[in-house]
């Protein structure tokens, strides 16, 4: 029968497709694949997965093969009488009860072993990171160092990281697919997850996701993990430990940061409309420097980040809707313009870790504004911002509801991975976060903007900010490296 031929062909295609895709899925086009583990934990799981896949494939071929064989072999033929009326066979029943049982033993034994290995306590001397899941962003604290950051973590390769997972509200789940399995972040509980990133993945960035449905913006609760060398990590920690660099009381000089020529500071603030053309003369040199400063060969590991120009090609909507913001921190002498410690070079961040989310079409920003960081600090400190955000070194900003912004300028993403952290996106974000990310707690601040949650227009009476004021705040925040 024609239909059954198709059934057989489909079954064959399914097997071939499965094998083909399994092979293909190991390549670089799949940045979040669970099949190429980069940690001890990931490899434990991968071992089990490979065994499950092998046995599963064998069972699949045998069972579907038997089915397809029977489907063809025992088609009713012309004038065929009643077939033999067999009722069963005890031998066969015993056989196909026992065979699966035996197969299961080969799965069960390594499974139980792995359960106990991976759920043991983290090795002593591990790096502790306290993870707090919020609707819809991640708070990360390094308790040994007193560092608090958001949505981005730096971890040294070759050292076990012990994540202590807590939730500030509902249940989330902490997951970096390439580094290991997930663990839920459960209200009223502390969960643990540890893994040791392989030494071979220094200078890499990995995507992380919230994997438990947690409300409207569950899809927008992503994070980044930067795996770096121990030296880079130490430098990064040193920088993050310092109070905010701009306008704060001067802290100790960073290990090696001050010597970068001034023009390097600004390129990251060019708007997406800036296309690939470098907006500043020195930018042409940036990629070269960036390459030098990245990688494991950097001895001090303390080279500052070289922001790279945005690539708006994948983001056509941005070109028309975003006005220009050119934050100016003034001269190079302003300390905040320079990163305090190592920052993963933006030029080295691969495409999969740069958000491509389009900007809402109806959100506009005045073109050509130049922000002043000094003014921005004042506006920030007098606006609603301080109710939710902390900036170490700015005594006005003590809020704890939102991400800590002490070194927000050093981060590559905002809005938990929904947008890249550039001046243009940041300006729109401050102007109307609720249009940028559904149901976000951060209120709409732009003057005359419509707040989709409050269903009302923002006025000066309830703290609306003009585009100029926002540009100032952007200049201030981007200076907080």
């Amino acid at each position: 029968m024609k239909g059954s031929d198709r059934l057989r062909r489909l079954a064959c295609y399914a097997v071939i497709a499965a094998l083909a895709v399994a092979a293909v899925s190991c390549n670089e086009a799949h940045p979040n694949t669970t099949l190429v583990p980069h940690s001890d934990f990931g490899r434990e799981i991968d071992f089990l997965w490979n065994r499950l896949l092998l046995l599963g494939t064998i069972v699949f071929i045998l069972v579907e093969g038997a089915l397809v064989y029977v489907v063809f072999k025992y088609r009713r033929r012309e004038n065929q009488g009643t077939p033999p009326q067999t009722h069963g066979s005890t031998k066969l029943e015993i056989a196909w009860t026992l065979i699966p049982a035996v197969i299961l033993v080969f799965i069960a034994v390594p499974t139980v072993k792995t359960i106990f290995i991976t759920q043991a306590q983290a090795a002593p001397g591990s790096l502790n990171i306290d993870v707090t899941g919020h609707q819809w962003w991640w708070e990360f604290r390094y308790p040994e160092y007193g560092v608090t950051t958001a949505n981005e973590i730096y971890i040294p390769v070759g050292r076990t990281v012990n994540f202590r997972l807590r939730s500030a509200d509902v249940i989330h789940s902490f997951w970096t697919p390439q580094l290991g399995g997930k663990r839920d972040v459960v209200t009223n509980r502390t969960n643990y997850l540890w893994y040791t990133p392989d030494s071979s993945i220094a200078s890499s960035v990995w995507n992380g996701f919230c994997a438990e449905y947690c409300g409207s913006s569950h899809a927008n609760m992503r994070f980044r993990v930067f795996t770096v060398t121990q030296a880079q990590f130490d430098s990064w920690i040193a920088g993050q430990k310092m109070p905010a660099r701009f306008g704060a009381v001067a802290g100790p000089t960073p290990p090696a940061g001050g010597q970068i020529p001034p023009p390097m500071e600004a390129p990251g603030m060019s708007v997406p409309a800036g296309a690939n053309a470098p907006s500043q003369t020195a930018q042409g040199a940036a990629p070269r420097i960036a390459r030098q400063s990245s990688g494991t060969q950097a001895p001090g590991g303390a080279q500052p980040a070289i922001p790279r120009p945005q690539t708006p090609a994948a983001n056509p909507g941005a070109q028309t809707s975003v006005g220009g913001v050119t934050p100016s921190t003034g001269a190079a002498s302003i300390p905040g313009a320079l990163p305090a410690g190592y920052i993963f070079p933006r030029a080295n961040i691969p495409d999969y870790a740069i958000p491509h989310t389009p900007i809402p079409a109806d959100l506009k920003f005045t073109a050509g504004l130049t922000g002043s960081a000094a003014r921005g600090k004042q506006v920030f400190s007098g606006a609603a911002c301080i109710g939710c955000h902390s900036i170490a070194g700015n005594p006005a900003a003590m809020g704890v509801l939102g991400p800590n912004l002490t070194h927000v300028g050093s981060r590559s993403i905002i809005a938990a991975g929904r947008y890249p952290n550039t001046a243009a996106y940041l300006a729109l974000w401050i102007k109307n976060a609720r249009k940028m990310k559904p149901d976000v707690l951060m209120p709409t601040l732009g003057m005359d903007e419509y707040d989709p949650v409050l269903k009302a227009k923002v006025t000066s009476a309830n703290g609306g900010l003009t585009d100029q004021q926002i540009a100032d705040i952007v200049a201030y925040l981007t200076a907080l490296k």
Partner: protein, 617 residues
């Protein structure tokens, strides 16, 4: 056997003593009519839930799309799951329970005909209650699993979750009432000689499912009562702020219900396929007793595996080990079923009707779902799989490849018995092949998007994550389903009106339901048959043949035969309406609560005081 008399096999005013038209449906207590009501309603909800899925897939067809808002997407996926589970698959199974159980065991109706009507009306009203809010964009949005504390008032202050909590509570009433009814029917109303081990496999699986329902639904009821109290009266079962509450309590309660629920969804389809495959292979079911025991074993083990939905919550190694191993064990009885179906076909004379194609596809597709199921029975491996699209692929192979394919096998197989007319085989095969292709094109790539790191329940995803191809494939596949369903709908209504007349046993089947005319007369069996074997029409002895001859007669009224038929009554409908109005009162106004309670009490009182049927003379 088959009659040549041409008559209109429609359910109009066919039964003497019944009124025609709408009233005859509102007031019916006949299990066959109630089964048909279930069938139509559940197919309606199935199509509605399918359309929700089409929108979901359209949104995910490419990265960063914004066809619907995040909020509405969340309502869509919540309602897709809730609809398919509670409003489509369960009631489609109920349609078959209603229609088939009395026919298969040789009974004239279910044990409690009016309770049966009540179950249906509560299901219909509850289904509307939980579905209609989506037209006002206030549909439930907490996922079909409704994890606390997201679903508590603090994080979901709107009406959305209220509709869900109350709606599920209402549907639970329906399921429990029906379950007790079928249990009583199967235990007490079997024809003489119909021992338990002679029962058709569908009735056996139905029996197991009723036991599961009776044991599992009270758990979700309690979980929902806690949540309802948290939301409406400020108690503290799952609340986060105050000390003592535990959100994991919800998860445990939910999955103690939720995993048996999976078997509630799939065992009826297994039962249907266990009827379909022997008929078209012209062989008795292979290993009948083992099929019975494996069904029971699946049900028993089904209560010991719930926490495999929770391997990521950090239960500790002992619990993970226990639930991992029990989950692996459940693969054994399930595998046995697969092997027995294949062995039933082996050495048979297999006819590939549409029903058989659906039946065979269940065996092949469910196997895939079973294999991926084993893959996440290993807790550490599951940590990479849970809450990704790999899981979505898995359970669609189980619930679509298993339940839905089995139910369509049942529909094509039993349509002639239900309506007296044959479905068009050519259109049926179009339907099958389109659905088979759509199913695999939609769900197979999800294995890959999942293992490549795509989380579930996300309304959008960024470009460059390596998921675009697989999502595009899934979306194209999903767009084929509506086309397949158009073939089915057209076929259904066309054949209903002008299909070939079926006769009592068009497929040459062997069980009791095929010994009576199609559609069956109101009283089912003119003479309650005496059964001597599992397939009375194939291998029956003289008592079987004699009852078959009598029962094949058409056109006799119950009056002529001296058979007493229950009165039609709208009281079950009124009680159900009162119940719904009462629950609506929780949301809108206390006046409704009083009105509903009043309606419920008065109509229940009058129900209990009115006799079921005329007195026996």
């Amino acid at each position: 056997m088959a009659t040549t008399a041409i008559r209109t096999p429609a359910y109009g005013a066919e039964y003497p003593g019944e009124h025609g038209g709408l009233y005859s449906w509102l007031a019916t207590v006949d299990h066959k009519r109630i089964g048909i009501l279930y069938l139509y309603t559940a197919l309606g909800f199935f199509i509605f839930g399918g359309l929700e899925a089409v929108v979901i897939r359209a949104q995910l067809g490419a990265p960063n799309q914004h066809l619907v808002s995040a909020e509405f997407y969340n309502q869509l996926f919540t309602m897709h799951g809730t609809t398919m589970i509670f409003l489509a698959i369960m009631p489609l199974s109920s349609a078959f329970f209603n229609f088939l159980i009395p026919l298969q065991i040789g009974a004239r109706d279910v044990a409690f005909p009016r309770l049966n009507a009540f179950s249906y009306w509560v299901y219909l009203f509850g289904g509307l209650f939980i579905t209609l809010p989506i037209f006002f964009a206030v549909a439930p949005n907490g996922g079909w699993f409704g994890y606390a504390p997201l679903t508590t008032k603090a994080y979901s202050p709107g009406l959305n979750i209220d509709f869900w909590v109350i709606g599920l509570q209402i549907l639970g009433v329906s399921s429990l009432a029906a379950a007790f009814n079928f249990l009583t029917t199967i235990i007490n109303l079997r024809a003489p000689g119909m021992t338990l081990m002679r029962m058709p496999m569908f009735t056996w699986m139905a029996f197991v499912v009723q036991v599961l329902l009776v044991l599992a639904f009270p758990v979700i009821t309690i979980a929902l009562v806690f949540l309802l109290f948290d939301r409406f009266f400020g108690t503290n079962f799952y609340n986060t702020v105050s000390a003592g509450a535990d959100p994991l309590l919800w998860q445990h309660l939910f999955w103690i219900f939720g995993h048996p629920e999976v078997y509630i969804l799939v065992l009826p389809a297994f039962g249907l396929v266990s009827e379909v495959i022997p008929v078209y292979s012209r062989k008795p079911l292979f290993g009948y007793p083992v099929m019975v025991y494996s069904g029971i074993l699946i049900a028993v083990l089904g209560f010991g595996v719930w926490a495999h939905h929770m391997f990521a919550v950090g239960m500790g190694p002992i619990a993970d080990t226990f639930f991992g191993l029990t989950t692996m064990l459940i693969a054994i009885p399930t595998g046995v079923k697969i092997f027995n179906w294949i062995a039933t076909m082996a050495q048979g004379a297999v006819r590939y009707t549409t029903a058989m194609l659906f039946g065979v596809s269940l065996v092949g597709l469910f196997t895939i779902g079973g294999i991926s199921g084993i893959m996440h029975s290993s807790p550490p491996a599951d940590l990479q799989q849970t809450d990704t699209y790999f899981i979505v692929a898995h359970f669609h192979y189980v619930l679509f490849g298993g339940s839905i394919m089995g139910i369509f096998a049942g529909i094509y197989h039993y349509f002639p018995k239900i309506t007296g007319r044959m479905l068009d085989e050519k259109l049926g095969k179009w339907h099958f092949w389109l659905m088979f292709i759509a199913m695999n094109l939609t769900f197979f790539p999800m294995h890959f998007s999942g293992m490549l790191g795509m989380p579930r329940r996300i309304y959008t995803y960024d470009a460059g994550q390596g998921w675009d191809l697989y999502n595009a494939m899934s979306t194209i596949g999903a767009m084929i389903f509506p086309i397949a369903m158009l073939f089915f709908i057209y076929n259904f209504f066309k054949s209903r009106r002008s299909g070939e007349i079926a006769g009592s046993n068009p497929w040459g089947a062997g069980t009791l339901e095929w010994s009576i005319p199609s559609p069956p007369p109101e009283y089912n069996f003119a003479k309650i048959p005496t059964v001597t074997t599992r397939y009375p029409l194939w291998e029956g002895k003289e008592p079987d043949h004699e009852s078959a001859r009598i029962n094949a007669q058409e056109g006799k009224t119950p009056h002529e035969l001296g058979i007493i038929i229950p009165y039609s009554t709208m009281k079950p409908l009124l009680v159900a309406a009162g119940l719904i109005i009462m629950f609506c009162g929780l949301i809108w106004s206390h006046v409704l609560l009083a009105v509903g309670a009043g309606t419920l009490i008065l109509s229940l009182y009058s129900w209990l005081l009115s006799p079921l049927e005329p007195e026996h003379s």
